[in-house]
Subunit: 248 residues, 2 copies
DNA sequence: AACGGTGTTCCTTATTGAGGAACAAGGAGA
DNA sequence: TCTCCTTGTTCCTCAATAAGGAACACCGTT
């Protein structure tokens, strides 16, 4: 582990949390390192445009290089291009927000979303992360893990209870996965956030492995059992379409 | 300048250019540093999710942290939120692609675009960079630089000729800026790419400084002189709206 | 079975990053 | 207006630590 690189990236994290930007002194206090060290790191980051000074004063913010890098990352993920139209259609038919997620280190990463009302700020919530054990998409993916991978997932998870309905025991979770495999979809019944229900389904790649998942999410008052029953086949169908689009 | 941080970021640049990802040996050759050094840097970057191994083999790609960071950067740029609906409307009325750009180190950065046909991949070309001297938006902004800043710009620019029509002399450029100030808009007449014309106008902030610019771009066959004349007031009006929205 | 190619680990050295202190600049308050 | 904080920035010295060579482990090919 390279200390200076590590520190540089911690600085970036700090700046991410402080939209207004931070000065050298602020950062040096936060990190517990000398001002001069922070200053040197910032200069290096600035050279590569990962940070920038706001109107040439001593306040630093995240730089525009991140737009560039984001673009490059997105380019590689042609999954978004393939899936977006299908997600778009799904949003239209179910009139609820839909998401596309993938996995990284047993954590969910939201890589696309389509809102019913506004097409604006499509990029906004992408990049958000969430745990698997308390979400529809997380469970949908876990249900199709091979046993080995599932065990590795269990050793990673902390079973944190976000609501009274969150599943927090391995045996309960395994039972839930059996149900999901049987039905081909998963439900999130206020397990992550009270008042929110969602329907999710897995997306498989050409090797038959689960690689992504999609969901339709809404408030409990709209998402009653009758509505859920209507939505289920639509989500499953959309997930299947995406699976086929990526070569399943 | 911190060597290790610098190298880490050069590695990220290399990975950006190689969508398929690179191995430790490839990178070590590219950078001219030892494999072990590259490996150590990659491990540190991986810890922060700026890079990831593709299916746990020895190939590294850009990581999903960039989506997160992009999100944070975008959040701060409420300019995009403000301008997007106006850009959207402009695209509808002129039926050509429109762009919103800002400046960084006398280079243009595209921060939003609206295509006429598809709302998909809205994020795609954002983050792209281009020189000022050969683009409509670049000239529109330069026209409203204070003399001091203009001189600094001249000392930065390389006057590279992208097409036979690119302006490559300072005196010609200054004459062009005079024309732009007089008319309140700028034209790009195949100066950056043959077959492409565009109409651009500057956006001013609350201090009356030029801070952004917008443009409508299309192929020469559609963008004849008559059409250009129709488009000009629309672009100017949209730019003015955005200026007002940010407090001009 | 031997080889060439990976990525990874270890260890030693001197390169280079770190931090204290001094400096410059700017703003607030008396 | 002058002073006194508090900024960011620069410099310099020392030792922490990053770098690179070499050895190792692994895989696929010949």
């Amino acid at each position: 582990m390279v200390q200076s690189v590590d520190r540089a990236m911690i600085i970036l994290d700090c700046l991410k949390e402080s939209p207004k930007g931070l000065g050298v002194t602020d950062l040096s206090k936060k990190l517990g390192v000398a001002k001069s060290t922070v200053h040197r790191l910032l200069s290096t980051l600035e050279k590569h445009r990962y940070v920038k000074k706001v109107n040439n004063e001593g306040i630093y913010q995240l730089g525009l290089k991140f737009l560039e890098m984001n673009h490059a990352v997105m380019e590689n993920m042609n999954i978004v291009e393939l899936a977006h139209p299908i997600l778009d259609e799904l949003t239209k038919t179910v009139a609820e927000i839909t998401h596309l997620v993938m996995l990284e280190n047993f954590e969910l990463v939201y890589i696309d979303k389509v809102e019913s009302t506004s097409t604006i700020r499509i990029y906004s919530q992408t990049g958000r992360r969430a745990p698997m054990h308390c979400t529809g998409v997380g469970k949908a993916m876990a249900a199709y893990f091979p046993e080995k991978k599932l065990e590795r997932f269990f050793s990673h998870t902390d079973w944190k209870a976000f609501t009274p309905y969150t599943i927090t025991k391995e045996e309960d979770f395994r039972a839930e996965l059996d149900r999901i495999r049987e039905k081909g979809y998963s439900l999130d019944d206020e397990e992550h956030e009270e008042g929110i229900r969602c329907v999710a389904a897995p997306v498989f790649n050409h090797q038959g492995e689960v690689q992504y998942a999609i969901s339709a999410t809404g408030p409990t008052n709209r998402m009653n059992n009758k509505r859920i029953e209507e939505i289920i086949p639509l989500v499953k169908k959309a997930a299947y379409k995406i699976s086929k689009a990526i070569g399943y």
